[in-house]
Symmetry: C2
Subunit: 259 residues, 2 copies
């Protein structure tokens, strides 16, 4: 039987709150077995860009990564956040190894092709090196990924952290039984976005399609769940969505996605 | 016979000049055998601190790392510089792995004890994990160290890059035959600091003591050479000091330090 691997993705809501982050990192350290953390950026990059007098570049409501903003996210995601998370995990006796996609060439990507919108230095992932990541896990290390990849030609690329988590999960599922957990600010997929008690506890592909058609899954949840179903469709065993507490207590209500 | 390992340290002068950095990284990639790069910071951290309105904290001519400046060096050294160097090395087919001392717990340090001066979040190194670094080398990776370490209690620490290079060299010399190269802006130790032709091609411990007494080795060269002799005294095979070109062409005049 394949070894189990837990992959956890945390987003800005956890990163932005020092107490919540500390509590989450303690819980992550206590997770048994092999594990990988993927972290988003949070508001620190925006604050840093503001402090440096950079105005966010937006097109059609989407953020554009120009060269100056790429510098900022590289500093904040791969430097400040990643190294502080790693140092904190070490204090909790979790032997963390901070990685960008360029490190050990673990995530190869390309600059997003310009169609209607030029997203600038945004990366779309081509390949995840599951063998290399597996060798880090075998060495007792817990990789901690920031949302920065590279194009193998020396260019760093800003890459969606949800997608990184899903691509790593897909690649690792060839070797491990992968449990992918997306932690965010809600308790799961909600039938009514204003009502935390309206959690849909289980979604399968059929109900997923219906929830999209009915507009229950909309906005930011659409790409998140698309990532989940891509992962499930390519061998990932289980995907769960919920609050960060979920990794400490599996009984907390959340959404489980199935094929 | 022990395997050979080359450890190269580059400083601000290389980092600050994009052409020189690119040329150096190409040369580093072409170095045969196992290798480690340690990089200093350069002026980018100072520029970033200026842009953020932080004034450098100095006491008795020495730089103090307060919390705000620690954030800056963590961003710039471990994020911006380290990841761009790693991505560039990948483009040159060198499988680089960017590391701070917190990653995989490879460099354990403590906050410098306050005597006359409180240096703030400056780190003094306690231990380098040669076994872990060796396992990265065995996996075909070239570790690239930024000058950030940690105290195992969650605190990152700003640490002198020359010292990091020397401490790694000492630790690795238990496993490898270590060749340590310090690249800086001069051609080596100069008899007359104004005359690039006055290179002292070989220094042994006896002549070193004399050169210090005569004031030929002074100022910034004192701690650099102290690091070198500590490394030599603890098993490092050879220490060389010179311009970055030295790693491409060993015939270029430089200073070799011996016991």
């Amino acid at each position: 039987m394949a070894k189990e691997l837990t992959i956890v993705k945390i987003g800005g809501n956890v990163i932005n709150d020092p107490d919540q982050l500390m509590s989450f990192l303690r819980d992550f350290s206590n997770l048994e077995g092999m594990k990988i953390l993927v972290h988003g950026g949070g508001k620190k990059a925006t604050e840093m860009a503001d402090s440096l007098g950079l105005s966010p570049k937006m097109t059609g409501g989407r953020r554009i990564t120009d060269a100056a903003n790429l510098e900022v996210v590289t500093m904040v995601y791969a430097g400040l956040l990643n190294k502080n998370i790693v140092a904190r995990l070490q204090a909790f006796n979790c032997n963390a190894l901070g990685l960008s996609g360029a490190d050990a060439n673990v995530i190869k990507a390309h600059k997003r092709i310009v169609k209607e919108i030029d997203f600038g230095f945004a990366g779309d992932i081509d390949e995840v090196d599951a063998t290399m990541i597996s060798s880090f896990l075998d060495a007792g290390l817990s990789p901690v990924f920031s949302a920065i990849t590279h194009d193998q030609n020396g260019q760093l690329l800003n890459t969606n952290a949800d997608t990184i988590a899903s691509e790593i999960a897909k690649a690792m599922s060839g070797i491990f039984k992968v449990d992918l957990i997306y932690c965010f600010e809600k308790s799961g997929v909600l039938r009514d976005v204003e009502d935390e008690d309206s959690i849909i506890e289980e979604i399968n592909r059929q109900s997923y399609t219906r929830l999209v058609e009915n507009g229950v899954i909309a906005d930011g949840m659409l790409p998140k769940l698309k990532n989940c179903y891509e992962a499930l469709g390519q061998g990932v065993d289980k995907v769960r969505i919920g609050k960060p507490d979920l990794i400490r207590n599996k009984e907390i209500k959340h959404t489980t996605l199935k094929l």
